[in-house]
């Protein structure tokens, strides 16, 4: 036991003597945290904002102006950065150069299609003002409230988008769809109301003036545009456990990825010592092989714990939550032990430091891909998730997901136990390889 301590302390001293290496090792987790913070704006889900979008109105009617004004309105000011354009070719070129997310093209028949039954003029004064339908339109609807279900395929508002701005384009589409639907339903709704009033006997279908007046009156109570009069129906999201947050997920999964890199390259010290000649000397001393192996990895482990703790602290400052502190500490220690086990395993079976390095890198990347460091774990197929449980990465992501959702230490003890078993397995295989190589 004493020898173990001596070896471990020697390793730690050696590891911490190289100031340059230490600085890089500690600076990197911080830089990564800043990267995450910058990308996610510190929030839970990624807030898409300030989407640059161009608007081209090819329609002469009034309904299209309403759409344009909706896109330019204050309510969407945070989400969109719209710009009205007139040169179609130039606008398309800007999309193709990825300078803007999308170009919204309002077709020439927009207003006509939105208001079938007639092409008579419609006056819309400004956003929020009541609109008017012609008497002819109302009469037509009145006589056939269900009309309008044409067989014609719908007109298209083209959203010419850049594949580099895929999510933004989808957001623009959603916004446009919402505005379009509102306009459409209001128009149809007013018409249908008038129709049903006539059917109920409240209005004379031949009395044009009255029809017009009623239509206007109803219209006054509705507001077109992206605003909504009174949105009576609201949605509230309640999390009985802590809600999922991309920031939390990324902070933890990045820490694990980084830890695996450090641990697998740290295992190389074994091989470097063999090259240097100090390892054979150790081996002929009356010290059992397992003590040597464990003692050497102790330095790597201590460094790993320090690195992850720093990431935890730094990411917490920007709002990431890792779980209950005690549970987090225990999980970190367990993960570091497992990661160093992988490092020991690779070093014990590799033939040279270069080979160990190459394998370590590859193993880490593969493990990361399969476990959910690069793709969200919950979206991976079940069999991939199961296979990935051979790696510390997967266990880490699962454990932190539970802790972040609100589980206490006692809830994750079974998983920690499983991880510990895996760690022991790693070290056993490492020891076998170690003996073969060095004895």
């Amino acid at each position: 036991m004493r020898k173990l301590r001596v070896l471990a302390l020697k390793e730690v001293r050696l590891a911490f003597r190289d100031v340059g290496a230490i600085l890089t090792m500690l600076a990197t987790p911080l830089a990564l945290t800043l990267a995450i913070a910058a990308a996610f704006g510190g929030g839970g889900s990624a807030p898409i904002a300030d989407i640059p979008v161009l608007v081209l109105n090819q329609d002469a009617g009034e309904m299209s102006s309403t759409l344009v004004e909706a896109l330019l309105s204050d309510q969407l000011a945070d989400l969109l950065e719209p710009e009205v354009v007139t040169d179609e070719a130039a606008a398309r070129a800007r999309v193709e150069a990825d300078q803007v997310a999308a170009l919204v093209v309002i077709p020439p028949d927009f207003s006509a299609r939105l208001l079938p039954m007639g092409g008579t003029e419609l006056r819309v004064e400004s956003e929020g003002a009541p609109f008017q339908l012609t008497a002819a339109q109302m009469q037509a609807w009145a006589s056939n409230p269900q009309d309008g279900d044409t067989e014609e395929s719908p007109a298209v508002v083209e959203i010419y988008a850049s594949p580099q701005w895929r999510i933004s384009a989808a957001v623009v589409k959603a916004v446009v769809a919402e505005v379009l639907e509102r306009m459409h339903l209001v128009v149809r709704g007013v018409g249908s109301t008038v129709g049903r009033l006539i059917l109920a006997g409240g209005m004379d279908i031949t009395n044009q003036e009255q029809l017009l007046q009623v239509g206007q009156s109803i219209g006054e109570q509705l507001v077109l545009g992206a605003g909504n009069g009174e949105a009576l129906l609201r949605l509230e999201v309640v999390s009985t456990r802590r809600a999922f947050s991309w920031l939390d997920y990324s902070a933890a999964s990045m820490a694990i990825l980084f830890l695996m890199f450090s641990a697998t390259s740290g295992g190389r010290t074994l091989l470097i010592e063999r090259e240097g000649g100090t390892l054979p000397r150790l081996l002929v001393s009356p010290t059992p092989a397992v003590t040597i192996l464990v003692g050497k990895m102790a330095g790597v482990a201590l460094t790993g714990i320090l690195q992850v703790m720093i990431l935890w602290g730094a990411s917490s400052l920007i709002g990431a939550y890792w779980g209950e502190p005690l549970a987090v500490v225990v999980t970190i220690v367990a993960l570091v032990l497992a990661a160093t086990g992988v490092g020991a395993l690779i070093a014990a079976w590799a033939k040279s430091p270069q080979q160990a390095g190459a394998i370590g890198t590859a193993v880490t990347l593969v493990a990361a891909a399969l476990s959910g460091s690069f793709f969200p774990r919950m979206n991976l197929p079940v069999w991939v998730r199961q296979v990935s449980l051979l790696t510390p990465n997967a266990w880490g992501i699962e454990l932190f997901a539970d802790l972040q959702a609100g589980d206490a230490l006692v809830n994750v003890l079974p998983m920690l136990g499983g991880l510990l078993l895996l760690t022991v397995a790693y070290y056993v295989v490492a020891l076998i390889g170690f003996r073969r190589q060095f004895e």
Binding site: L32, A155, Q164, R234, W246, F261, V366, F374
Partner: protein, 403 residues
């Protein structure tokens, strides 16, 4: 020239000191590609032979509302590909939507109503559900407003008997919901000629398959090519660097030899990743192989140049390893390899243009999503080559004084 080739040769010899190391060199990128494509398949629809899968989400709804609005809500959700499951009860631990008992009546009377979406922890589909619920609630809001307006008008005109009001309301609501099924104008996304990409299923962190493939390639390439940072430390420890310096061989040749060797090794692995991925695992790398090759070469040059520059800076193996891991991961993350860069603030997008990884991601995404050809990615290739030139030049200058 002979000396340069000798330096290149020795790097290869030292890299492949045994048959096993050659095996690892060739196999590892394939294993990685396999893992990546497994992950990509899991996200749906990356395989060109299969049609894109619709993501089906299910949402349990508990409602004691007997009015028509709940059914209207359900109908709307189902057209948005949400499978609604009406349940008898919903405990606190369960995921689902709770509709208050008198929703229809209250809304029609003009009182606000709150739907509660209960999310017990990490549910992956919660973002998609929220996004489907938004247009549904908006539709209902519009419908309620119209119906209320009509009802008020009817009352003013006194054309309806109280017992007929319900029928009036139901009929109007029905009209509106039917109208919603037949919009006369719809928005449609057009990505450009010849471009076939999928629309994201979620409006938040959607990792599309093209970005994921490119991101993985960039991550792998950086980590392995930046490994060039160790070339000088190793030689110094062996004592051979001193000997190299007293040889009648220019330092430029020595460092260039290492750079070329690392580049060739890296390009070989990239080729395995690209070709192996495409042939064996159906990973799509775009429609123009020449363009892919040009971008890859430029990116490899920039990265290896940076690796060589790092080599002249680090003094110990520990520093080299830390630098490789740190720099490659930071550049990958910041450059958009691990999340789509469009979700980042505009300032961020400006700042990260100093990284070669940003430009590589941009180029690859253009290739994969747009099917761009060489001309289309020429700007990005140019920038990458500029990075390569600068890094290499600085590295060579530093190496003149290296001790």
């Amino acid at each position: 020239m002979r000396r340069l080739l000798a330096c290149v040769r020795i790097e290869f010899l030292r890299e492949f000191t045994s048959p096993m190391s050659a095996v690892f060199f060739l196999i590892l990128p394939l294993v990685f590609t396999a893992a990546v494509s497994a992950g990509l398949r899991g996200m749906g629809g990356s395989d060109s032979q299969e049609p894109p899968r619709e993501v089906e989400i299910s949402l349990p709804i508990w409602s004691e509302d007997s009015g028509p609005l709940t059914q209207a809500l359900v109908d709307t959700l189902e057209t948005a590909h949400v499978t609604v499951e009406r349940v008898e009860a919903l405990s606190k631990e369960q995921f689902g939507l709770i509709v208050p008992g008198a929703m229809s009546a209250e809304l029609l009377a003009g009182s606000p109503v709150t739907l509660t979406l209960q999310v017990p922890g990490a549910v992956s589909s919660v973002d998609v559900v929220r996004e489907a619920l938004r247009p549904a609630t908006e539709r209902l809001n519009t419908a309620v407003q119209v119906v209320r307006g009509g009802l008020q008008q009817a009352r003013e005109m006194q054309v309806l008997a109280p017992e007929d009001e319900q029928a009036f309301v139901d009929g109007l609501l029905d009209d509106i919901m039917k109208a919603a099924q037949h919009p006369p104008v719809v928005p449609q996304v057009n990505w450009g000629e010849g471009v076939e990409v999928e629309e994201p299923t979620s409006l938040t962190m959607a990792t599309n398959t093209e970005q994921a493939s490119a991101g993985q390639l960039v991550t792998w390439v950086q980590i392995t090519l930046l490994g060039a940072a160790e070339v000088l430390v190793g030689e110094r420890l062996l004592g051979t660097l001193r000997r190299l310096f007293v040889m009648p061989t220019a330092r430029v040749s020595i460092l260039s030899g290492k750079l070329v060797a690392r580049l060739l090794l890296g390009l070989t692995q990239m080729a395995i990743l690209l070709v192996g991925g495409a042939l064996l695992f159906g990973v799509e790398w775009g429609s123009d192989p020449l363009a892919v090759a040009v971008v890859s070469l430029a990116f490899a040059l920039a990265t290896v140049g940076l690796g060589i520059l790092l080599a002249t800076i680090v003094r110990t193996r520990g520093q080299a390893q830390s630098a490789v891991v740190g720099v490659s991961m930071a550049m990958a993350a910041l450059g958009g390899a691990w999340y789509p860069i469009e979700i980042t603030p505009p300032v961020y997008r400006q700042v990260v243009q100093v990284l070669p990884s940003t430009w590589a991601m941009r180029a690859y995404t253009d290739l994969l999503a747009r099917g761009a050809d060489v001309m289309g990615v020429l700007p990005e290739v140019g920038v990458l080559l500029l990075f390569a030139a600068v890094f290499t030049a600085v590295g060579l200058i530093r190496f003149q004084r290296y001790r």
